[in-house]
Symmetry: C2
Subunit: 412 residues, 2 copies
Amino acid sequence: MKASIVTIGDEILIGQIVDTNAAWIASVLAEIGILISSKITVGDDKESILNAIRRAFDDADVVLTTGGLGPTKDDITKPALAEYFGGGMQFSPSTFARIEKLFAKRGIPLSESHKQQCHLPAAAEIIVNEMGTAPGMWFEKDDKVLCSMPGVPHEMKHLMINGVLPRLVQSSQVVYRQKTIRTSGMGESVLADLIEPVLEEHDVSIAYLPSQGQVRLRLSKVGVKGEEALLERTLDNAIAAVTQVIEPYVFGFDGETLESFVGKVLQERGLTLGTAESCTGGFIAHMITSVPGASGYFRGSVVAYDNGIKEKVLGVKRNTLEQYGAVSEQTVSEMVSGAITLLECDIAIAVSGISGPSGGTREKPVGTVWIAVGDKNTIVAKRFLFAKDRVVNIKYTANYALDQLRKFLSAR
Amino acid sequence: MKASIVTIGDEILIGQIVDTNAAWIASVLAEIGILISSKITVGDDKESILNAIRRAFDDADVVLTTGGLGPTKDDITKPALAEYFGGGMQFSPSTFARIEKLFAKRGIPLSESHKQQCHLPAAAEIIVNEMGTAPGMWFEKDDKVLCSMPGVPHEMKHLMINGVLPRLVQSSQVVYRQKTIRTSGMGESVLADLIEPVLEEHDVSIAYLPSQGQVRLRLSKVGVKGEEALLERTLDNAIAAVTQVIEPYVFGFDGETLESFVGKVLQERGLTLGTAESCTGGFIAHMITSVPGASGYFRGSVVAYDNGIKEKVLGVKRNTLEQYGAVSEQTVSEMVSGAITLLECDIAIAVSGISGPSGGTREKPVGTVWIAVGDKNTIVAKRFLFAKDRVVNIKYTANYALDQLRKFLSAR
């Protein structure tokens, strides 16, 4: 069984928002063995929507659409669906009652556009959207299925998990397994040169997915129902062989992130962490605290954006700042010590750098960053030079800082 | 002139990475009057790629492809392009020389897979990629154009700006203008009910783009070359009329973000800012410091994740924490005062809440957040209840905190 995703909305087509829904839908479908054959994005235009649906059905048995269902007038998806599946539009009293109740609870009066939302294609089976006003709609025609969902991510996810996936999971014939090895600190080409000879003896597919200092290696294999155990075994063998040749760079598997990995290690060892951040402006602390349960090991952070704060709050010596500058081995090392003392943590990360776009010099160009990780006995500091875009530099720095923490923990 | 985007890569199709390139390409093409008619994503499969290219040319005069050009073996885009445009593959000595030089500079030896990258479709005109190894390729056939670019975002952007856009800008006949009004603190439906009556007198299109506490209103109008001034005038009139009826919620226009807006106000008034963050874990500081020049007004932040840090570093009274709890009006108010003293700033933001997934109680369920903004004379604290996903709660909280700062500054 194959699926296509049709994303509807001028705002996506024109690039004003990034389509994160399609990636999420694809990844959950992969888990139940449904492969995506294509994704198509079209604007809020009836002909384009109809065209996209026809094309999507050329490639697939299941078409999932997102978007085009808002309460405002850029909504033309429903009439397009009514035309495609026949039967016209009709008012849905049950949807109206649900919205009325929802708004009464919030104490908000119903607007005209909310009432408009209750006119739905007559051919649709309604899937109740408990997270918002626009309902999900399920259509069947010629043994094929189309499911229309709103574009708001948490509403779409709720509908997928509770309404759509349970209906799809029964009918899939293909079996697909994938496992991902997660690495940091080494580039795609070097990893490939190490891995390719090993993989010749394993019948699996591999994809290299680099991003900001990390490379994910996705190994996958397709089969049919009944072969699940074989696929799992083949993948496990390949994963073991690949992991062996690139061991120093592997920090985890599948959904594990660098921040959840270091969090797990800290938690297991009963160690606490703090950060002292200059150029990253709190982004390292944000990554760490994105992990549920971070309060078990993360004490806090000082974002010392101003040099005065580095001195006053973190205790970096004025002399150090004057002699070596804020972006130096000496400063980040003193920031580590200051953070350990102030935040009463076992280990601290400190970073200071020039994110750009201005502030660079010949000796320290934009993108120059010092990263230090240490405890009360040992501090390891390293200098890096990253790309030249401010936000990219911040993200690279945070990833490399977490990688440095990983190495520090593994050597400790 | 219309364009289609074809994004190539199993990693995109399968949802392991989110396609941010397509949105960026669409937005820069819109600026030169080239509208996107569709976006198609396909996997690393020759037939699918050829199919997508054919479909894309059905809708468009220009097709831009990204991805499928990495140094590892998931690369099959080039042979597909060679087949579509004819002429087979050939070795490009100039590309090889450039890669050799690039790697010599970095002190990295060339790998086999890098040499492989220099085999390119013979029909391609090469656009030099100064940011990486995979070159851009420009093809022409039957008055239509295809341009192939690597998928790495900063490489693609560099190629677009320096190689592709200058070639496209000359031949466009359509003129398109859009302006965006940026609002925060009010929902899409209420805004629509205020705006729709006003817009009846203005011949422009509107789209509502909600995200995490903000709604962008994109007004647009299409015309032909020579009508630029008329389009601008029509849009300006509509923007003025719309802005008037929703004035309390408007913080900026076009690319202005809430964080850049408050930054601009702080800078103009010579005020400094600090943050004291609990549940947001540094994300507010990250948003503020994503703006170039933030060091002109942002002093720093204390991420007081642990209650001990709230007490010791920010001076929140132990009695306050015990009597009212960490998530309370009293605690966030004391965090504001503590941050102003410690960080020596004029204004501080403080937040404390329960991000989830655990930690909620009946009185304070997951998603409960207190946000305070204040200076040394006045502190305004408010309680919110957000959705139930940890990362979403963090982002909503940060957006509402910045909105609260905006209101505080406007009343000050």
